[in-house]
């Protein structure tokens, strides 16, 4: 993927090595869970972002907290795609792989592009470690890696030497290896050290020996690149032309949390977040619980059912009420979501999807909870559903979801997934003053109040306990139109089911028309939803550039869909639906619009690669490039 630009090679700063300017690169740090790869990756990301590249990242860690050192089960990785262009995914094939042990090498080598850089910590290629990784012999001694540019560095030894003067224990000294590796990577891609050095000093202010050791390791790695004779070239990725503004790197979960806090503030309400920890949603809870000075009231419930029910209570009592979970927890919440739906209280349920079924692949990404979200409850129980398309998009998706919930007095489901929830990308920081207020008008007139009277949007009044004279009772039994009294009348039941369904359909009035990227008609429409946006968009761009008559439709709203969705679908000869499941959106499109389509279905716990989508597009179009 990384391509040499027309600028060719040049030298830079004080470096004696030639610097090649390239458009983008993909670096992946891999090692043992205990090796600090997530940290190295994050630092590389921040530095690149501050430097001015567009970036996208993909952390990948095992389900065990710390599987036995050196085993395949314990491999942890962090990938960064950084570029001088707009990018939307962490990238397909890796340009440079930093492997801290044999297991990490084994688990990741397949993703390294031909000719890519392979940097290994040779010190860890001992016989026991090779055995733990199920290598029969040392692969570095074979010709298996001839198609890569292999650099064997004794990272462990170098690190020990570098930090000797700090007097740290062997164990602590060994912990600095990641900074050494990071130093090498910084040198290789011509990144400044300042951001990381500042971070180290702040983070370890209370343990100066550690701060010093990490600093020494980082610099040692950097200097190694410069002085050792093994690297013949280094790279530079120029600044990207991003929209001007202040940026910050944010995971989807952080963005969600900020969106929720903002929404509550825009509504002038306390934020109630009732949740039960579950990967990959827990970080929303963690982030929110830090911000109590925004009148954020977090409640760690005893389970997901209690969490959802507490949300119903909080919504009834007038808070902006939200819960977050992942697939199995979502299953547990469904009965209570039905209660929120029939009582028509406004609230938000976030599902950061992970690999299923059942416990499945809990730390991996997947999009297989779409059906569950839109039609997985008992009875006729439609609930608006939308999906965020990237980490930073979670911010606005959260605000939009709350806006719909309170306007339509309904639970809303927001889908993200492990990939965007834990992955991060740059976020252009908005000015709070530019965010539109969320208008809430509670019922307050005792003379005219009727709990189930509807306004033009089909929504009922939000009357909160504490309001004089508005005493009323809500519940899960069918209720009479207008009064809300319990009612078993047959026609009323049909009427109420229709009113509730129509209300959800009315949300389509607020979400605008469905956008199409590319021509409004053509040979092929590629449809996608959720966190696969970047990959699908990039693949379609590539195919368009090749001259294919292909467009891209990314659905943010899954229920209801924008009003023109059906019309768009009918303007293309073929439809290809790409999703990280076995065809859930595809089925839904068939159900709604009676259309035939092809599907690209990936369920491997991993995001799409641009290449595989592009390949599929070309194949569906007959296999030929125009």
């Amino acid at each position: 993927m990384s391509t040499v630009t027309s600028e060719g090679t040049q030298t830079h700063g004080e470096s004696a090595k030639p610097i090649e300017a390239i458009e983008s690169a993909i670096v992946r740090f891999v090692g043992d869970s205990g090796d600090g790869m997530q940290l190295a990756g994050t630092q590389f990301t921040t530095t690149s972002a501050v430097f001015g590249n567009d970036i996208a990242t993909f952390p990948d860690y095992p389900a065990e907290i710390r599987a036995p050192a050196g085993t395949l089960a314990g491999v942890s990785g962090f990938q960064i795609n950084f570029s001088s262009r707009d990018i939307h995914t962490p990238g397909d094939k890796v340009s440079a792989l930093m492997a801290m042990n044999p297991a990490a090498l084994k688990a990741n080598i397949a993703d390294l592009e031909d000719g890519g850089l392979l940097i290994v910590n040779v010190d860890e290629f001992s016989v026991p470690n090779l055995k733990r990784a199920h290598y029969e012999s040392n692969p570095l001694d074979s010709d298996a890696f001839d198609r890569y540019r292999v650099y064997k560095i004794p990272i462990t030894k170098h690190t020990f030497e570098a930090v000797k003067e700090t007097g740290l224990s062997t164990k602590d000294a060994s912990r600095c290896k990641n900074f050494y590796a990071l130093g090498v990577a910084f040198w290789l891609y011509d990144r400044p050290l300042e951001t990381t050095l500042a971070w180290i000093n702040q983070k370890f202010a209370k343990v100066p020996a550690v701060a010093q050791a990490n600093t020494l390791a980082l610099k040692a790695g950097y200097h190694f690149g410069e002085t050792a004779e093994i690297f013949t070239v280094r790279y530079r990725i120029p600044r990207a032309k991003l929209a001007p503004g202040k940026y910050r790197n944010l995971t989807g979960n952080q963005a969600t949390a900020l969106g929720l806090i903002a929404a509550a503030r825009l509504a002038g309400k306390p934020l109630f977040y009732g949740s039960y920890p579950i990967t990959p949603a827990s970080d929303i809870l963690h982030e929110l619980s830090l911000h109590k000075n925004f009148d954020v009231r977090t409640f760690q419930a005893e389970d997901e059912i209690a969490a959802m029910c507490s949300v119903i209570g909080a919504a009834y009592a007038g808070a902006i009420a939200v819960t977050g979970t992942s697939g199995p927890g979502m299953a547990l919440k469904q009965e209570a979501i039905g209660l929120a739906m029939i009582t028509e209280v406004p609230c938000l349920i976030i599902n950061a999807q992970r690999g299923g079924p059942s416990t499945g692949l809990p730390t991996k990404t997947e999009q297989a909870d779409l059906w569950q979200a839109i039609i997985g409850r008992n009875g006729e129980c439609p609930v608006p559903v939308l999906a965020a398309r990237s980490a930073s998009d979670c911010f606005s998706a959260a605000i939009e979801a709350i806006r719909v919930a309170v306007k339509y007095m309904t639970p809303v489901i927001l889908l993200s997934d492990g990939f965007i929830a834990s992955g991060s990308e740059p976020w252009r920081i908005p000015d709070a003053a530019d965010l539109e207020k969320i208008e809430i008008k509670h019922a307050d007139d005792a003379e005219t109040f009727q709990p189930y009277e509807r306004n033009a949007a089909g929504s009922r009044p939000w009357a909160i306990p504490g309001t004089l004279g508005l005493q009323h009772r809500l519940g899960g039994l069918e209720k009479a139109d207008v009064t809300g009294d319990v009612c078993y009348d047959p026609d009323n039941h049909q009427h109420m089911i229709e009113l509730r369904a129509r209300k959800v359909q009315n949300v389509a009035n607020d979400i605008g028309d469905q956008e199409v990227f590319g021509e409004p008609s053509g040979d092929l429409l590629v449809a996608s939803w959720g966190g696969t946006f970047g990959a699908v968009w990039s693949a379609v761009q590539r195919a368009q550039a090749e001259g294919h008559k292909v467009s891209h439709m990314h659905l943010r709203w899954l229920l209801p869909m924008p009003k023109n969705t059906g019309a768009i679908l009918k303007r293309f000869k073929k439809i290809l639906v790409c999703e990280l499941n076995m065809g859930q959106l595809q089925f839904v499109l068939g159900g709604h619009f009676a259309i035939e389509s092809e599907g690209l279905h990936k369920v491997q716990g991993r995001p799409f690669m641009i290449g595989e989508i592009h390949e599929k597009i070309v194949q569906v179009l007959g296999g030929q490039t125009p």
């Binding site: 921040t46 972002a49 501050v50 951001t195 991003l242 929209a243 001007p244 503004g245 202040k246 940026y247 910050r248 900020l258 503030r265 306390p270 109630f272 009732g274 911000h291 109590k292 000075n293 925004f294 009148d295 954020v296 409640f299 419930a301 005893e302 389970d303 059912i305 209690a306 969490a307 029910c309 507490s310 949300v311 119903i312 209570g313 909080a314 919504a315 009834y316 009592a317 007038g318 808070a319 009420a321 009965e335 209570a336 209660l339 009582t343 252009r428 920081i429 000015d431 709070a432 306990p465 504490g466 004089l468 004279g469 005493q471 009323h472 009772r473 809500l474 519940g475 899960g476 319990v486």
Partner: protein, 338 residues
């Protein structure tokens, strides 16, 4: 509507909904006493919320002219928790049954209690599933024949007060549906308690479990089967008040007063005891071996969940200032693109 100045009467707490329990159901009495108690303690209709689950008992909120929420089976305490956290100024009552609160809702029951959030939980214990037409419940006695146990139930019953003490409830009491005076005093005490107050009411389901609590409600016999607890007083009972409870090691025993045993030998009730062991021991006194204690077992002051939560919010706001969105957005490592 603006009746906040004139004191409310019990009937002011009656909603306009038809009460739909079986004629003769014990629930009627509880409803009346609750309406009376709310009037007596000067409750405000608009600041009072009744939350329930599913079951005959859980229809209760419909009949109160307060705010109300008829939830789903077993989850009343969780819904109520959300209400209270969202608005700690509200007075929140939870109405539940032995199935709703202890079978499907058992987990929320114990966790709500341990948090000591300020909810008043009233459990209508009729030792049966009423609404689903007569299956045994977690409080049904062993050997009970019901629709789901034609050969007799084989589960050991759960004792709600013992369970509540297992999670160290700060207020716990018991009363009987027809014993109006005691119920009123117990409900008033619960209303006044700050923290989770749990009240078990023995309730007659005259359709599916008629007379289950006859020993404790029948005027003729109840004095011998019931012990009214009074703080600081020795534990005396019996029609002639001639019997008492004495401690033998860690075991209670029934003694006859007179002939060598005086009031001074009896256990003194201490509802404020920091250790809940005494209350636990009382919860283990059961018919027919013992008179069953009625009234307040335990009433202890302790910080409430919502108070500590709001303190944390105030404290955070004091320290960091009221949250500013732009500061929040721009925190951490940022960079400028021009």
């Amino acid at each position: 509507m603006s009746a906040i100045d004139t004191p409310l009467k019990p009937k002011d707490f009656k909603s306009d909904q038809e009460v739909r329990w079986c004629p003769g159901c014990g629930d009627y009495s509880i409803l009346s006493q609750m309406q009376k108690v709310l009037a007596d303690v000067g409750a405000e209709k608009h600041n009072t919320v009744f939350v329930s689950g599913i079951g005959c008992s859980s229809r209760f909120p419909y009949y109160m002219d307060t705010y109300g929420f008829h939830g789903i089976h077993g989850r009343a305490a969780s819904i109520a928790t959300g209400v209270k956290i969202a608005n700690p100024d509200l007075t929140v009552w939870v109405i539940t049954g032995d199935g709703d609160g202890l079978s499907i809702g058992g987990n929320h029951f114990i966790h709500t209690i341990r948090r000591n959030i300020d909810l008043k939980i009233v459990l209508f214990n009729n030792r049966i599933y009423g609404l689903t037409k007569g299956q045994y419940s977690p409080t049904s006695e062993v050997g009970k024949k019901t629709r789901s146990t034609p050969f007799g139930s084989i589960d050991n019953p759960i004792h709600p007060i013992a369970v509540a003490l297992g999670v160290e409830v700060t207020f716990v009491a018991r009363c009987v549906d027809v014993d109006v005076k005691n119920m009123i005093s117990v409900l008033k005490r619960a209303a006044a308690h700050k923290g989770t107050a749990f009240v078990e009411v023995y309730q007659n389901c005259n359709v599916y479990n008629h007379m289950a609590f006859a020993y404790a409600s029948d005027k003729k016999t109840k004095d011998d089967h019931v012990l009214y607890l009074e703080h600081g007083k020795p534990m005396i009972f019996g029609k002639e008040r001639d019997k008492g409870i004495r401690l033998n090691g860690t075991m209670p025993e029934v003694v006859d007063l007179g002939s060598g045993i005086s009031q001074d030998d009896l256990l003194i009730h201490d509802e404020k005891a920091a250790e809940p062991t005494l209350a636990y021991l009382l919860s283990r006194m059961r018919y027919p071996d013992f008179p069953e204690p009625m009234g307040v077992f335990r009433a202890l002051e302790a910080p409430t969940y919502e108070a500590v939560l709001m303190n944390q919010i105030e404290e955070a706001t004091r320290q960091k200032g009221k949250g500013n969105l732009n500061e929040l957005f721009g925190a951490g490592d940022t960079w400028e693109v021009n």
